[in-house]
């Protein structure tokens, strides 16, 4: 009758952390939708079993107004921020937290690709939510149609990395399911990002976010293309200002990770110099391609 607490497989930790996270959300009254990985509908899983999906982290979408209280509680429970929202990605959509024992958590305050304000988009998903039992805990998840869209937008954003998601969410979908997805895409103002996923992006050349979605869906690593896309997609002077600041600024979270501690002034100077060199190189590449 012995028991152990070592050598816990990663997939077990991920599964348990979904349940753990839901308990924490319930405790602080935060609305959370579990997305991707272990939480996907069996129809969208390879071989029809969510356990076949390999995940390295837990992904959740949190009602924007509830993010603060959830993060505060997680920090009390020894979760540490790896990257903040603003610095994490072109979309400023997620923060990463790490627990020394449980692993990584991707906490999303919005899902890239929905044109609606984040709170409205969350409301729309929440209204149609279902539940999925993960680690013997009832976890709210988007409806099957919404899950297809969530996976497809992620597929588009990651340069078609997860081909399996495209196949299960779209290729294998019947005509009725595809029609439901297209209707729902309209309700979520996700036409451009969805088009990037299903190779219809050229129909949206006149849209401000076209360049950005082309960049991501092509899997381009050229940072200049990304910044060009971000600039084009930004609406209004405030958003464009934020893009400009992001272009010039070094991400302190990522730098901290890179140097393995609190960066020194010299670390920052080196990082700015590297950024400048990379930007010039990307710009040259971009010009040559045009």
């Amino acid at each position: 009758m012995t028991w152990q607490s070592t050598d816990v497989p990663l997939q077990v930790r991920v599964e348990l952390t979904h349940g753990y996270l839901q308990h924490v959300a319930d405790e602080v009254g935060a609305d959370v939708l579990h997305v991707k990985g272990k939480s996907v509908h069996p129809l969208l899983s390879e071989a029809g079993d969510p356990r076949n999906r390999l995940s390295v982290d837990v992904d959740v979408l949190v009602r924007p107004a509830h993010v603060g209280r959830l993060v505060a509680r997680l920090e009390e429970l020894q979760w540490q921020r790896v990257t903040g929202f603003a610095e994490g990605s072109a979309f400023g959509h997620a923060m990463n937290l790490r627990h020394h024992h449980l692993g990584l958590l991707d906490l999303h305050r919005r899902w890239p690709g929905f044109g609606l304000p984040p709170a409205t988009a969350f409301d729309r998903l929440w209204e149609h939510r279902e539940t999925q039992e993960i680690a013997h805990v009832s976890c709210p998840v988007p409806s099957l149609t919404d899950q297809r869209i969530v996976l497809l937008l992620h597929f588009a954003r990651t340069g078609s990395e997860r081909q399996a998601d495209f196949v299960t969410s779209w290729v294998n979908a019947g005509p009725a399911d595809r029609s439901a997805v297209r209707r729902r895409v309209g309700q979520l103002d996700a036409e451009v990002s969805f088009a990037a996923a299903v190779d219809e992006l050229d129909e949206f050349r006149d849209r401000p976010d076209y360049v950005l979605w082309r960049h991501f869906s092509e899997g381009s690593v050229n940072r200049w293309d990304e910044w060009h896309g971000r600039w084009s997609a930004a609406r209004g002077i405030r958003e464009k200002g934020a893009v400009a600041r992001g272009f010039l600024a070094v991400n302190p979270d990522l730098l901290r990770e890179k140097v393995g501690g609190e960066p020194t002034r010299a670390d920052y100077l080196r990082a700015y110099a590297d950024r400048l060199v990379t930007a010039v190189g990307n710009l040259r590449q971009g010009v040559r391609r045009r």
Partner: protein, 92 residues
């Protein structure tokens, strides 16, 4: 006062290796349990002390109650410490 599984626990028993895993928010550490350990955790639900847990297991699985009592007692204490088991507020 009886034991109950803590409300903030998630647990799973993936196929294949005969092990189960449990995690409480309060404990914050994943515990791997053998099949026997899982039986004890389950048997403790609604019981008031280690003796009644051991008696229940002995009756169900034909084990010697006296022989397993010490181990059951120690294990229940570990479960409580890990946040996987707690006392309910209702006296029996």
């Amino acid at each position: 006062m009886s034991w109950r599984r803590a409300a903030d626990v998630s647990w799973c028993d993936p196929d294949g290796n005969g092990m189960s895993y449990a995690l409480s928010v309060r404990g914050g550490i994943v515990f791997a349990m053998t099949e026997t350990a899982l039986l004890i955790w389950r048997a403790a639900e609604g019981m008031s002390d280690a003796t009644s847990v051991a008696a229940g297991l002995a009756g169900q699985y034909g084990w010697d109650q006296a022989e397993i009592l010490d181990e059951v007692t120690a294990f229940l204490a570990q479960l409580v410490e890990a946040g996987l088991l707690e006392r309910s507020g209702v006296s029996e």
